[in-house]
C-alpha cells in the first residue's frame, strides 16, 4: 500500500526497546568533545557500551556484530539515540563510511577481519583522502603505492583527516599506476596508524582541539590483504564511500529534529524580546528538520523496494549542512551577548552547547565534499547541464 506512513507494531516495540536501553545507559552528563584526547577515550568507552548491548551497527548482519535491522529500524534507533542525547559516534568514519564500503567491495576475509571490531568500537577509523594539493580536486592526489612482491609501499602526505590523532586505522586512495592520470590508476588501502613509517601530526581546529591530523606515509609496507578491491578500482570505491557519507547514514534527521526542538524551547525563553523575524526563522528550522526527516523516510522506503542511492546524496548533503548552520545561527541570535561564552564558563545558561554546535556547523558545508562540488554534481548529473 502506497503512502502508508505508519510504523508496524514490531517497529513500535523496537522503539520502546531502544528507548528503555538508552534511558538505562546514556551518561547523565554530556561527554567532553571527542576532538580532544580525554573526550575521545570516553567516546571509545561509550562505543563498547553500545556494542555490549548489540547496538554498534544494527543494520549489519549478526555475524559482523549487527542485528540485521531494517532501514526503518535504523531510523527509529537514531531517533531514540538523539532524543536520549547520547554521545556522538566516534567511529562514524568506520561504521557509516568504510563499513558499507567493505560490505560492497570487501572480500569475505576482509569483512570478517574488520567489520566486527568496527561494530564493537575496538578499532576506530579515520579517513585519508585529501592532500595538500588535492582537496575538492581529489583526483589530483599524488600519494603513491608501489607494488613489491606481495606488498605495497605507500609514500605520500594526507591531510584534514578528522580524529586521526587518536584513531587506530585509516583508509584512503593512492596512485598505484605511475603512468595514470586523474581518476584512473588509483587503489584503495586500509592502513593501521601505528604501522612502521606512518606518522600522524595533529592539527588544531578552530575550537583549539587537535581534531584534524595530517598523515605522513614514509615507505610504509602493507600486505595486499589491506588493499580493498582491485588495483585501479580506487576511485569507484572512494565515490561509493562518499555516497554513503552524503547519503543516508552520516547525518540522521533526528539530530536536527532534536536540535530544532531545543531551539523552539530557547525561542520561547526569549520570545518577549526577540526580533519578530526570529519566530519565522525558528519555525523554518523546525520545518526544514521535518522535511529532511520525511525525505529520509522516502529514500529509505525506496531503497527497501530495491532502489539505489544516487545523486540525491548530494541534495541531502546541501540540505542538512545548511539546516545545521541555520539552526545554530538562530540560537546564537537568541542568546545575544551570551552567545560568545566558552563552554564550561560559569555564566553559561543551560546544557545546550549552541556555540560548539555553531562552530561545528560551519564545517558541514565543507566536509564530505564541499557544497559547491555538490551543486556541480546536481547540475550535471541530475539536471543534465553540460560539464564545466
Amino acid at each position: 500500500m502506497a503512502l502508508d506512513l505508519h510504523y508496524t507494531p514490531d517497529e513500535l516495540r523496537f522503539r520502546a526497546e531502544v528507548r528503555a536501553w538508552m534511558v538505562a545507559h546514556v551518561p547523565a552528563q554530556p561527554l567532553p568533545t571527542l576532538e580532544g584526547e580525554q573526550g575521545f577515550a570516553l567516546h571509545r568507552e561509550w562505543e563498547k557500551t553500545l556494542a555490549a548491548g548489540s547496538w554498534g551497527m544494527i543494520t549489519w548482519p549478526r555475524e559482523y556484530g549487527g542485528r540485521g535491522a531494517s532501514l526503518i529500524e535504523w531510523l527509529i534507533f537514531e531517533e531514540e539515540y538523539y532524543r536520549a542525547n547520547a554521545p556522538l559516534r566516534v567511529n562514524q568514519n568506520g561504521i557509516f563510511l568504510l563499513g558499507p564500503t567493505l560490505m560492497e567491495f570487501g572480500s569475505a576475509q576482509q569483512k570478517a577481519r574488520f567489520l566486527p571490531k568496527m561494530a564493537a568500537g575496538e578499532e576506530i577509523w579515520a579517513q585519508a583522502w585529501s592532500e595538500p594539493q588535492a582537496g575538492s580536486d581529489l583526483a589530483a592526489l599524488r600519494s603513491t603505492a608501489t607494488r613489491e612482491g606481495d606488498e605495497y609501499v605507500l609514500r605520500g602526505h594526507k591531510i584534514w583527516s578528522s580524529r586521526a590523532t587518536f584513531a587506530d586505522w585509516c583508509f584512503g586512495i593512492f596512485r598505484t599506476d605511475p603512468a595514470s592520470e586523474r581518476h584512473k590508476g588509483l587503489t584503495f588501502f586500509l592502513v593501521p596508524l601505528n604501522h612502521p613509517g606512518v606518522r600522524v601530526r595533529g592539527i588544531r581546529q578552530m575550537h583549539g582541539e587537535p581534531g584534524f591530523a595530517e598523515i605522513f606515509f614514509e615507505d610504509v609496507r602493507v600486505p595486499s590483504a589491506w588493499r580493498l578491491g582491485a588495483e585501479g578500482e580506487g576511485w569507484t570505491i572512494a565515490m561509493a564511500t562518499a555516497g554513503f557519507e552524503r547519503g543516508l547514514m552520516l547525518r540522521s534527521p533526528a539530530r536536527f529534529q532534536v536540535a530544532a526542538e531545543r531551539l523552539v524551547r530557547l525561542y520561547e525563553q526569549h520570545a518577549a524580546t526577540a526580533d519578530p523575524a526570529l519566530s519565522s526563522a525558528v519555525a523554518q528550522a523546525v520545518m526544514d528538520a521535518e522535511a529532511y526527516a520525511l525525505s529520509t523516510y522516502a529514500t529509505a522506503t525506496r531503497l527497501i523496494a530495491g532502489g539505489k542511492i544516487g545523486v540525491e546524496a548530494s541534495l541531502n548533503k546541501i540540505f542538512w549542512s545548511e539546516l545545521d548552520v541555520h539552526i545554530h545561527r538562530c540560537a546564537l541570535s537568541l542568546l545575544g551577548a551570551f552567545a560568545e561564552l566558552a563552554a564550561g564558563d560559569s555564566a553559561v545558561v543551560g546544557h545546550d552547547a549552541w556555540l560548539d554546535g555553531f562552530i561545528f556547523s560551519l564545517a558541514g558545508p565543507i566536509y564530505a565534499g564541499t557544497n559547491e562540488i555538490q551543486r556541480n554534481i546536481i547540475a550535471e548529473r541530475l539536471l543534465g547541464l553540460p560539464r564545466g
Partner: protein
C-alpha cells in the same frame, strides 16, 4: 512505512501527464494565453474522458472513490503543465465537499453532474478574495463558516476581475445568498469549509511543485543550448549553482507534500502544520524557480516570446490563494509556540507515548 506511490497511482499520473503534454504543449498554451486555439470546453472534454473530475467522489455516484494521496500527483502534473482548466478546484475541492454534503438533494444532483464532468464547479471560500475559473463554470460552490450554498452561474451574479495570468479568470459573487441555494448549515457547513481549505492549500502547493519542475526544465534546456564566451552558459557554475539551489528546494518540498496528502483531511494540529509546511515549501520553491528561470534566460526571460512567464504568473496567483505565505507561516508558528505541537523525532508519524 511506505513512501512510494503504487503502480496504479503512477499510471494514472502518467496518463494525465501524457494528455497535458498534448493539451498544454507550449504552442497550445501560447494560443490559449492569446485567446486562440482549442476551446476550454474541448480540453475539459479530454480531461473527463480520463475520469478525472470524479476521482475523489464515491463509486456510488460514479466516481473512483480515491483519496487526496491518489490525487496529489495529478495536481502536481496540472501545475507542471500550467493547465488552464481548474481541474484541481473542481475535482480536488468541490467534488469531495459535495460528496460530504450529498444528503442535500440539490447538492447530490450537481455532484452527479460534476463527477461526469457535465457540470463544472468553481469554489468561493472566505480565505480567497476571488473565485478562479468561474467563466467556464456552470455552478459556484460558496463556502462560508456557517452555510454552504450551491449557486448556478446566473444566481452567482459574477463580477469579473483580471489576473496577470490570462489563463486564470477571476471573479467575485455579487449576488446575496438566498435560503433556497443553501445545501448545508452549522457544524456540517463549517466542517466542509475547513476541509475545503486544507484541500485547497495542499493541492495548490502540489501545483506549485509542478510549476517549479517546469520552470527548472525550461531554464536547463535554455542553458544547455545558449553559448556565451565560447561555452554553453549551463557549463558555468554561476548558472549551475542557481539551478541546483532550486532543485534542492523542490526535492525537499515533495516529501512534505506527499506526507501532508496522507493526513490533510484529519483536521488536527499536526495535519494543519503539515499542510501549511507543504504550501510554504512548494511556493518558496516555485518562487525561486520563477525568478531563477527568468535570470538564466537573460533578456529572453523577460520577453513575451519565451514561455517562462506562463509558469511564473501561475505560481504568483497560486501563492496567494488558499492562505498566503503570511497566513501559513503564522499557522505554523501558532502550532509550535501556542499549541505546543509535538515535534520530536518520535512525533513525525504520530506521537509515541510509551515510556519517558
Amino acid at each position: 512505512m511506505d513512501f512510494t506511490f503504487t503502480e496504479e497511482q503512477q499510471m494514472m499520473a502518467g496518463a494525465f501527464r501524457e494528455l497535458t503534454d498534448d493539451l498544454c504543449a507550449p504552442a497550445a498554451l501560447r494560443a490559449a494565453f492569446e485567446g486562440r486555439g482549442e476551446s476550454s470546453a474541448a480540453r475539459w472534454q479530454r480531461l473527463t474522458e480520463l475520469g478525472l473530475p470524479g476521482m475523489l467522489a464515491p463509486e456510488s455516484v460514479g466516481g473512483m472513490g480515491l483519496t487526496l494521496a491518489d490525487f496529489i500527483l495529478i495536481a502536481e502534473a496540472a501545475g507542471r503543465a500550467a493547465l488552464p482548466e481548474t481541474l484541481v478546484e473542481h475535482a480536488g475541492i468541490a467534488v469531495p465537499v459535495l460528496s460530504a454534503l450529498s444528503a442535500d438533494a440539490r447538492g447530490a444532483a450537481v455532484l452527479q453532474a460534476a463527477v461526469s464532468g457535465e457540470a463544472r464547479v468553481a469554489v468561493s471560500h472566505p480565505f480567497n478574495p476571488f473565485i478562479v475559473g468561474a467563466d467556464q463554470a456552470t455552478h459556484v460552490l460558496v463556502l462560508t463558516d456557517h452555510e454552504v450554498h450551491l449557486l448556478s452561474k446566473d444566481e452567482a451574479k459574477l463580477e469579473g476581475h483580471q489576473s496577470i495570468d490570462a489563463l486564470r479568470s477571476l471573479a467575485r459573487c455579487t449576488g446575496s445568498l438566498q435560503p433556497g441555494t443553501c445545501i448545508a448549515r452549522g457544524a456540517g457547513a463549517s466542517a466542509a469549509t475547513a476541509l475545503a481549505f486544507e484541500c485547497g492549500a495542499l493541492l495548490t502547493a502540489a501545483e506549485c511543485a509542478g510549476l517549479c519542475d517546469a520552470l527548472v526544465a525550461l531554464a536547463v534546456s535554455y542553458a544547455a543550448e545558449r553559448s556565451q564566451f565560447g561555452k554553453k552558459i549551463g557549463a558555468y557554475q554561476a548558472i549551475k549553482h542557481q539551478l541546483a539551489n532550486v532543485q534542492v528546494k523542490l526535492e525537499f518540498a515533495r516529501p512534505v507534500l506527499y506526507a501532508a496528502a496522507t493526513q490533510a483531511t484529519v483536521l488536527s494540529g499536526r495535519s494543519r502544520f503539515g499542510v501549511s509546511h507543504a504550501k510554504l515549501a512548494a511556493t518558496d520553491a516555485a518562487d525561486l524557480a520563477g525568478r531563477t528561470a527568468v535570470q538564466v534566460h537573460g533578456a529572453m526571460g523577460y520577453s513575451w516570446e519565451v514561455d517562462v512567464h506562463f509558469y511564473l504568473k501561475r505560481a504568483l496567483g497560486l501563492t496567494g490563494m488558499w492562505g498566503d505565505r503570511s497566513f501559513h507561516m503564522r499557522r505554523v508558528q501558532q502550532q509550535l509556540f501556542s499549541e505546543h505541537l509535538a515535534i520530536g523525532p518520535d512525533a513525525l508519524f504520530g506521537v509515541f507515548k510509551e515510556l519517558p
